[in-house]
Structures are given as C-alpha cells and as structure tokens.
C-alpha cells in the first residue's frame, strides 16, 4: 500500500507551503514534493504602472524583506533609463539593505529556527515556538527582541516604514538620515555588536551540539547561486556568481541572467523551479540564500565576518553542502551586516542632503536590477516605454530560487530517514529548554 505523509502547512516560514512524501509498499520513497499554494501575479499587474511606482508596489511581495523589493526595482528602472545616483544615496541604500539583513537574519535565527534546536526536534509542538523560548530564556529572548528592534527601527528611519519602505526613488533617495537619528543609532551600535557576538556563541554551541546532524543529515550537493563584487560577499551590488557542486566558481554580468538562470514550471507548485541553465533541469538545480552566498564568497567584506568565514571553512571545507549549516552561514552574514551598519553610521554621507539627482528622464529600455535579499538573490527585469510606463516585468524572487533545491533536499533526506533509517543512530544533545 502506498503511504502519503503530508505536512500542511509548513510552519514558521513566510508564505504558504506543504510537504508531501509518498512511500511505496517496499518502503522506498517514490516522490517528495514541496507544494507552494499561493502566488499573486505581480509580474502581470505591474504592467501599465508608472515605472517609478513599481518599487512602491513590489515591497508587498514580502513583508519580511520588503527593503530589497523596494531597492531592486528602483535599480532596474535606473538601469533602464540610464540614471546615475549620487554616492550618498548609494550609501544610504547599502545601510538600509544591511539594516534589513540584520533584523531579518536575527528574526530567522531566533523566531523561526532556534525553537527546533533549543527544544529539540521531538518537543511538544505546542511549545516549540519563539514565545516559549522567550518565556524560558528571558535574557536571550530580550536580547533577540532588542536586536530585531534595532534593525527594524533603522529600516524605518531610513526607509520611512520598516514594512513597505518608500524613501528610494529613481535617481536616489527622497531624504537623507536626520543627524539626531543617526547619533541615536550610533550610540546603540556598540551594544548591538556585542549582542551579535553572543548570538554567534549560541549558534556555534548549537552547531557543536548538533554536529552529528549537521554533518550527516541532508548533505546534498547542488549548484549555488550568489552575488559577489570582485569576489567579495556583497548584498547590494555585484555579479551573479554560480558555484558548481565541486566548488568551481563562475561569474556572470546581471544583464546575461537569461543565459544563466532557467525557470522550470513544475506540475505541483506555484513557486517555480530555478536551475543553472547550462547544466539543464533537473541536474542544474541550485540553492540560494546565505549558505550559497558563503559558498560563493572568496572573502567577506568586513574583518570579523571574514574571521567567522575562515572558522566555517576550517570545519566544512571550501564548499559546504550541509543544509543545516545554513544557520551558521546566516550568522556570518549577520556579523557582516552589523559591521557595515557600524561603519556607515559613521560616514557623513548618510546625512548628506545631496542624495537625489535631478537628472532623470524616462526612456525606452529594458533594465535589470539585482540585490541579495535575506532569503536569496533578487532580480528585477523591467521594460519601460519612452514615457516611463512599465510595459513588462520579469521577477526572479529570492525564496523562489530555493524551491527546487528544497525539494531536492527533501527527497534526499526522506530517503535517508525512511530507507536508510539514518535518524536511528544519530547523536542528539539534551534540549537546552523543555
């Protein structure tokens, strides 16, 4: 008899999805699906909008990472219209992007992921959540809340709103930071660096506790999609970088994305399956997001993060296929984000009113914008007519880059669990909290 195991919905994530694993009579895994059951067609209804309004619509794609969805289409329109922005605007955007990276990564680590590790995988589902973590570890909980609060407030200060920002405009930014506000954040940033270091300590302890799991479960060789600028980790600008399963790195100009990134429409998910086009589907399935970024980077952009990267590579080798190492990779990126924030808050350009060029004219063209959002590479391709109306939009969204990779990982892990009984002998630590 065929047995179907369905998890509906997958919890502690943003969006709508379920898992489905089909087991045959022989106990073999016949199918593993990741079903995403929602989509809203931004590609279509942005047609006919003012191109400069697209960045005020698309943040609604994701409430956790609306900032990349504000900045990336702005960059795409600037690319289409041939607009150069002033340096202070560029720095403000980088600060904004990193403020988001920081709060999102902290949210992900503490609210979405940590309950699994701190309570253990077999805890009561009613307790396995961030509310319980806050109750049981009030000091850590309060620290996590303060970190998210700092990141979100900084987003709101620069972006106008932390959820669905409005301050970027084709040609730059509508307003620099106020000096008072800058001073306030500057005062707090030292404490935030300490919080980040403590978070890394907690993370490393979790990795050590669960090393048997990290090293043996869901280790799946795939391609990886990241972004680097001259080989250095960068979440605001750079080239698309593909890493092959054996660690070879290839860089592509973002305008060549159609040669590199293929989109396969599956039968069983509204989120599509992305893959590295030259390798074909499904062989070219890649993963994105922090582990991919860490695999792609030659080095990190800041000193503490670069040390953290070296420690990571000492343990995992030059390329890591460890799915559970995503959490560790995320912490390395968190360190980089707070270091960049600390540096930019000291830069006088973030309060410089020269943050918008007046030299903006629509023209017919097709522009591409790319950033690295907290959950993966984000690409906008906007076609503008001569009057600056958006005629067409292609969107390759961060989470979407991972769907095929997640399904591949799911299949691999389901086989480990149901066929190889790999969980039986695993060493699991005592839960930190019960």
């Amino acid at each position: 008899m065929v047995k179907e195991i369905v998890v509906e919905p997958v919890t502690r994530l943003e969006g709508h999805g379920g898992l489905r694993i089909v087991l045959g009579d022989d106990g073999k895994v016949k199918d593993a699906q990741f079903n995403i059951t929602s989509t809203r067609f931004f590609e279509k209804f942005c047609e006919g909008r003012y191109a400069e309004h697209v960045p005020r619509i698309t943040p609604r794609i994701c409430g956790i990472c609306p900032i990349p969805h504000h900045l990336t289409p702005t960059k795409a329109v600037e690319d289409a219209w041939g607009v150069e922005i002033p340096e202070p605007a560029r720095k403000l955007r980088i600060l904004l992007q990193n403020a988001k990276q920081y709060s999102s990564h902290v949210l992900h680590f503490y609210a979405l992921a940590a309950p699994d590790f701190l309570l253990g995988p077999f805890a009561d589902p009613a307790l396995r959540n961030v509310v319980h973590v806050i109750n049981k570890m009030p000091d850590v909980g309060a620290m996590a809340l303060k970190m998210m609060d700092f990141g979100q407030k900084l987003c709101a200060e620069i972006g106008g709103k932390s959820v669905h920002p409005i301050s970027a405009i084709v040609g730059g930014m509508k307003k620099p930071m106020d000096e008072d506000a800058r001073d306030k954040f500057l005062k707090q940033v030292g404490e935030q660096i300490e919080f980040t270091k403590k978070t890394v300590e907690i993370g490393l302890k979790v990795v050590e506790d669960y090393w048997d799991v990290v090293a043996n479960v869901a280790v799946v060789p795939t391609y990886y999609l990241g972004m680097t600028k001259n080989g250095v980790h960068d979440i605001y600008e750079g080239d698309i970088r593909i890493v092959t399963p054996n660690g070879e790195k290839k860089d592509f100009d973002i305008h060549k994305y159609l040669d590199v990134l293929g989109e396969h429409i599956p039968e069983h998910s509204y989120a599509t399956h992305m893959y590295y086009k030259p390798a074909g589907y499904p062989d070219g399935i890649y993963r994105a997001n922090c582990l991919a970024m860490i695999n792609a980077a030659d080095k990190m952009a800041t000193p503490l993060a670069d040390e953290a990267l070296k420690a990571f590579r000492d343990k995992t080798g030059p390329i890591s296929h460890h799915t559970f190492a995503y959490h560790w990779a995320r912490l390395i990126e968190t360190v980089e984000a707070i270091e960049i924030i600390a540096t930019l808050l000291k830069d006088p350009d973030v309060v410089n009113p020269d943050c918008k060029t007046l030299d903006v004219e629509p023209r017919e063209g097709n522009g591409v914008g790319v950033t690295e959002a907290p959950r993966g590479l984000l690409l906008y391709n906007i076609w503008s007519d001569a009057a600056g109306i958006c005629k067409k939009l292609n969107l390759l969204v961060a989470t979407n880059h991972n769907i095929a990779g997640i399904e591949k990982t799911l299949m691999h892990t389901a086989k480990q669990v149901f066929e190889d009984k790999a969980l039986d002998g695993l060493k699991l630590p005592d839960p930190w909290i019960k």
Binding site: E8, P9, V10, T11, L13, E14, G15, H16, R20, T37, S38, T39, R40, F41, E43, K44, F45, G48, Y50, E52, H53, R56, I57, R60, C62, G63, I64, P66, L107, A111, P125, N129, V131, A142, L145, K146, M148, D149, Q152, A156, G160, S162, V163, H164, I166, S167, I169, V170, K174, K175, E263, H264, I265, H268, Y270, V360, N381, A387, I389, N394
Partner: protein
Amino acid sequence: MAVKVAFMQCSDCWGCHQSLLNAHLGLLPVLPALDIVYWPAVVDFKHDSLKARPDGDILVGFVEGSLRTNEDVENAKLMRAKCQLIISFGSCSCYGNVHGLANQWDIQKVINRKFVETESITNESPHEPKEHMPGFTEKIMPLDEVIKVDAYIAGCPPKPEAIISSVVFLLGQKPQPMNDLAFCNECPLNTEGCLLDKGVMCFGPITSSGCTLKCTSNGDPCVGCFGPSKTVASRAEKLNGMVKNLSTISTGNKKNLFEFLTLFLNVPLMAGFDLAGDVLKQIKKRGAPESPLANLPPTTEDIASSIMAYLRDNRDFTEISNVCDTCPRIIGSKSRMTKVKRDYEGLPNMDDCLIEQGYICMGPVTKAGCGGLCLRVNAPCSGCYGQTEWVADQASRFADVVIKGFNVDVSKEELLSQVKDHLGTFQKFTLASNRSYKGGE
C-alpha cells in the same frame, strides 16, 4: 484566563505579522493574555488542529490577506466557523491591496503571464500547475466579500501600536491607573492659559501625572498617553461637558480625540480600526463592561462611556479624518501646483504640501491612521489605509477635493489627463473592493 486567538494568512506578504512582531518588547505584556491556537508563521499547530476545533471555540480570529486562491476562500470560511469575532487584518483583507490591480484582466491572461509567457521559462509546453494546487479565484476579493467581518484594521501594514491596542481592546482589558494625581496638577498652564478654557479638548484632567509635560509646554493639549490617573482634576467636568457634544467637534479637537482613543482608551480608531455591526454589544454579551474602563473615577468612566456611545452610534465619524490631519506639512503654502509632476521629478522640500508642490499625494482622500509616515520621508501618500469615501470614480473625487482645498492651478480635466495611470494612482490598494468596477484598463 488567557483567551483563544487564531491568525490565518490568506494571499499576502506576511507584513501584518511582521508589523505585529515589530512591537517587540511591547508584545511581552500582551502575550500572557493570549492562548494562540493557530498561527502558522510562528507556532507549530497544523491545519487539521484548527479544523478539529468546535465551532465558535476561538474568541478572536485575525484574517490577513486577500482571497486569490480557492484555498484562501475555504480558510476564510473555516475561520468564520471557528471564531466568534473576525478581524479583517490589514489592507489586503480589508480592500484587496495592490494585487487587486490584477482584476483588470481575465484571470487566464494573468495566469498565462506567469506560467506560460515569462522570459526565463524553459519548459517546452509550460502551463498552470494543477497537481495538489488549489486553483485561482476569478478576481482578487477582500475578506468581507466572502464572510461576515466584525472589525477592520486597515493599513499596509497596520501600525504595531494599532494592532496591540486592538487586541487589548477586543480582549476587554482595561487601562490600569498610573499615579494618584492628574496631569493638570503639574501642567504649566494650570493657573494661566488653560487650553480647556480656550475650547481645546485637553485630556489633562483625567490623565496620570508624571510625564515630561512636553505637550502643554509646547502649547499642545494632553492626549492621555500616560493613561488614567486615580483621581481627576477639577476641570474634568469641563471636559465631560465637551464630550457630550461630539457632533459639533472641531477638526483640531477631533485629532486630539483620536489620539486619546488610541493612547488612553486603547481604541485604535486613529489607526484605521473600524467596528462593523455592534461589536461592543457582542463584547458586552461576553461579560466585558460597556466602557473599557473600570474601577476608575466616575467622571473618567463617564467621559469614556460618552465617547464609546458616540462612536457606536456614528460609524462614519472616522471617515471625515484623513492623512492630511496627521501630516506635518503646510497646506496653503507658498507653492502651487501648475502641472502634475511624476515622483522622480525634482526633489520636493520638506515643509510644503506635496500636492501644492505638484505631486499626486492621496493624503486628502485617504483614511487617517498611519501618522503620515510617508510624508515624513518626502514620499507622497499612495492610499494604503483606504479611501475616506467610497465613490465609483475615485480619480474624479480626488481632483475635486484637491482643486477645492489646495493651491492647485490646473483644471480638473488637465489634472486627470496628466495622470497616465489612473487605476495604479487612485485605486492602488482598493480596486478589488470597488464594487462598481467591472474590469478593463
């Protein structure tokens, strides 16, 4: 005892949840009062556990998101069955939000763009996924098109304070008194220049002392942010007299009242909160007091009850307040609109009304509640809290309003012809809830 609440997400971005989480430390006092029985974004209860509950088992259900798939429609109905009160949470649920703009086209055209025509697709014959997929509704729908809704919290996203105060209000929790003495006792205007004497609605007589007195020191009235005091000051009767005549309230006083509602009474009216039907009565049926206050000075209770009664009987009261009421910019400034500017043109100054500087700003026709956040970073309002008045032709109404009340030197025809994208400009967030719109560009 903690009350059962559930959060359901239909088609949207999760931003309302993020906004709730943005309350951060502000969440801690509220959480113990909640027994969260369903919230996939944060806790691990699965869909089956919600289905298995008896009907009406949950007190408050927050439904986020518009209805785009058949699964969304089923989930909305499921929540209606399981929850006593349904809150339409956020502008997707209230109005359909930006994705309502997809209602311009036949659904098949919309589906084809994503699953067939997209430039990066590589399948030989791509088509809409069907296996284990719910299928799409013909149109994007707001929640109340499918189920009865008891209260609305608009905003994209709603402000964290608004969500928290809605929760507190709906749970029937009461503001706790702070200090013995009222604000008036420490107010610099207590002996001379009292704002109440000038007809300004100042809530100092019933508000707790202990703040920095910043408001009245600047000539602004106290709006109650410290919550109730244990005793009232002598001018409380004067304030009581004013709230008995809310039908003649001035614009300035209305603004003070709205702030008071959110900050003091935890009625987040100023934040896009709207009661449908007689929610107060339903809450009362459950044993909560009619006034959200209790064990406080009788005058304070009397004032609160008068305000609540007025709100209950005059549901359009909020609709006369718009984003301009909370915008710091000058209307009737030195600037004048002589042509409509696109947002990328020039860079507006921070002082003058954006409309008068030539930009299309939806502030005058958009419900108040956001606090004018966009205007503060020099970006025009795009209408995410919904329209103050529901008319078939929003573009025409906007033109009438701004030509009448602002420094605008273009005619209605010129203004409307200079805006090239009417739907995306005037109904960006609300097209799906415009019942007279039948599709087409």
